[in-house]
Amino acid sequence: MAEGSRDQGGVVGTTDPEEDSPNMIVYRKIEDIVTRIQDEKAGGVAIRTVKSFLSKIPSVVSGADIVQWLMKNLSIEDPAEAIHLGSLVAAHGYIFPISDHVLTLKDDGTLYRFQSPYFWPSNCWEPENTDYAIYLCKRTMQNKARLELADYEAENLARLQRAFARKWEFIFMQAEAQVKIDRKKDKAERKILDSQERAFWDVHRPVPGCVNTTEMDIRKCRRERNPHRVKKSVYGVPDDGQSQPSPIHISSQPTRKPTKEDVQKEITFLNIQLDRHCMKVSKVADSLMTYTEQFMEYDPFVSATEPSNPWISDDSTFWDLEASREPSQQRVKKWGFSLEEALKDPAGRDQFLKFLESEFSSENLRFWLAVQDLKRRPLQEVASRAQEIWQEFLAEGAPSSINLDSHSYERTSQNLKDPGRYSYEDAQEHIFKLMKSDSYARFLRSNIYQDLLLARKKQPADTEQGRRTSLEKFTRSVGKSLTGKRLTGLMQSS
């Protein structure tokens, strides 16, 4: 029986191969629809016999009727969607046009018939070429216009005759036997059965150019149906064991029974999970909404891009601008969303660095950048580079000394005994938080950033200078208005 275990909120994969196959899941859904649609008493389509010229066409329904039913019963508003769904049902051979090999649904008077459950793909059919040969051979024996072979079928037959040259007599006999069996059936019944048989082969030996819907993703083939359930012959020809093995032979993983250690590991893992702090859904939903709102104006699929989207207009100005170090206001605005966004953009990095240099605190960002670079270095360079970073930023008397808390400092110096790409992870995280809470906020308020954001042009007479001049004036005037010597004395000594 299927082995499974309930995992938080879901079912972990079972080992029942028949139900697992992805095609099987789709077949079940289609069969549900097809059963309902044929149930006339429960609101299904009207399946009728249609008079045509001198004969009657039994058991058919028009494509338009099927489309109507799908739209009404599956709540589909768009007819195109109903046609797409109906064509999917046809492509798998559950319905078929009576006068065409191509399995699609048309929203008109084209007549369709339902496939017999015997031929349903969910029965795990894998018909052999011998069967196909018998089928084509049988068709040539029956002298009916409607059973004439199509060009591609004639070609297939010729190829099969060459391939099965040695056992052709056997195939011929089987075909004759089938013809005899068929002749015994009622005329109307035969019409229906012939068409269903043909539709079956249209699925398993599709018209060239049509999709073979029985193809499976090779990654899922390993878990394919139980070999005992596979049906290989439509005409009762015994399997002579010459079937081609699938190109992949992957031995299935034997499922071990969980040991005591496995369960103990699971318990440890579950305990860690339980200790995690869960954030409220309302907060998380808010965060998602805020994020998408912020970035929607930068999302070319949602908002119009300025300048034009190069894919549509064939004008690459947008990309040229992105690559340039002179960012647009819109791009600069993004830097204000988070420190991560600012650092993602090379121009943002440059400007932030420039700002920090003006405050004489650029060592933090330079450290952060150096550690990012370290993580991408080839292994042989990692150790020496890690040492260089230590010398530059953390050693005693380092030229660009950064401010680390003692805990991170201890851990980092420990890590450096065996230097690796991630030796500075703790330190980097600490410095990042520092920048985020301190310098980043000031950067956003700075002239450097604001000028770019508001696209302010730089004045030749620097505003900084202007302010300094007025401060000097103010100080002088204060000094004059107060009793002179005492204050001047103070100012001189400071």
């Binding site: 879901g10 599956l74 190109p247 318990i267 579950l270 954030m279 998380v284």
Partner: protein, 340 residues
């Protein structure tokens, strides 16, 4: 025997407590929270380019970091690097094994990787000295097919495999640095977080797992799907995960709330999801299905807002370029299409 029973009871009790903890923070649902915002307008994208050249099913594609070059892998045994704007083939790399299932482009643009039924991840250097593209490394240790691979840098790559594990490799030495074991079914897909500290994997045991790359441990597990998870991706803010499954649905899980927030499904969609990619802002989710279409979802409202119908067979892979400008789809019909 009794001891295992005791332990199992303990494990089950912990699971119940975790479920309770998750419920405790469910002060609302995503659907309620977004009730006030309007659905995104109908999204209509056109095919701008068709990349022709493969002769068989395309199984995978991946954009380069420059948003113009991309690499694709096909069962015709070729890895092709395309200049997607001119549709020219920059490189056409013949593979030793034609049963390739995945490909990846390094962020630097120097390397590409691929793998499949050969159980190996082969790394190719695109910027070799003499101009020829050669195999640089063959990472062999998996005992199952290679389903997905993603570069962290030119020195490290993460792979997922049909042997139920994911592995972090050091490319230069060709050795496994960390093995991430825990899934009980084939790992089908993986995605790396925007900050490169975590990655997520989706598997045939119907669960998705979040792994800490450095610590080598599974941090969280998400369930809820009723069939194999074929595709997985991070929401652009790095705090949420999107999965696509054979059960014909996609799900959004939040890492901080530790639970599923919403499911993207429609009674008219019956076929499994093969691939997915969020748009630049995350507001749209593009998902490729076995029924040859790509459905575009409003990720917050969980409503379908568009369809890309242009392939004549299954859509096997999809990717949105780094600048969000274009979406590329690859299909079993052997073509890649660029849409926007």
């Amino acid at each position: 025997m009794g001891e295992i029973e005791e332990l199992r009871k303990e494990a089950d009790s912990l699971k119940d407590q975790i479920t309770a903890a998750r419920k405790a923070v469910q002060d609302t649902t995503l659907q309620e929270a977004v009730a006030s915002i309007t659905v995104v307008g109908r999204v209509q994208m056109k095919t701008r380019k068709t990349l022709r050249g493969h002769l068989a099913k395309i199984y995978a594609m991946h954009w380069g970091a420059d948003a113009k070059l991309c690499v694709s892998a096909s069962q015709d045994g070729k890895l092709i690097v395309w200049d997607s704007i001119t549709t020219n083939k920059v490189n056409a790399i013949p593979l030793k094994s034609s049963w390739v299932m995945t490909c990846a482009y390094a962020p630097s643009g120097n390397l590409v990787a691929c793998g499949g039924l050969d159980n190996m991840c082969s790394i190719y250097n695109l910027k070799g000295k003499d101009g020829n593209v050669k195999v640089m490394r063959e990472l062999a240790a998996h005992t199952g097919y290679l389903s997905c691979c993603r570069f962290l840098s030119d020195s490290e790559i993460i792979t997922s495999s049909g042997d139920c594990t994911c592995v972090l490799w050091d490319i230069e030495t060709g050795t496994q640095k960390t093995i991430f074991a825990g899934h009980q079914g084939d790992c089908m897909s993986l995605a790396v977080s925007p900050d490169f500290n975590f990655f997520i994997s989706g598997a045939c045991d119907f669960t998705a797992k979040l792994w800490d790359i450095r610590e080598g441990q599974c941090r969280q597990t998400f369930g809820g799907h009723e069939s194999d998870i074929n595709a997985i991706g991070f929401f652009p803010n790095g705090n949420a995960v999107i999965t696509g499954s054979d059960d014909a649905t996609c799900k959004l899980y939040d890492l901080r709330a530790d639970q599923e927030l919403i499911t993207y499904q429609d009674s008219g969609i019956m076929c499994g999801v093969t691939s997915l990619a969020p748009s630049f802002s995350g507001r749209l989710l593009l998902a490729g299905y076995d029924d040859f279409n790509v459905n575009i979802w409003d990720a917050l409202k969980a409503e379908r807002v568009g369809v890309l119908a242009g392939h004549d067979n299954r859509v096997s892979c999809i990717g949105v370029s780094a600048d969000g400008m274009a979406c590329c789809t690859g299909s079993w019909d052997s073509f890649l299409k660029i849409w926007n």
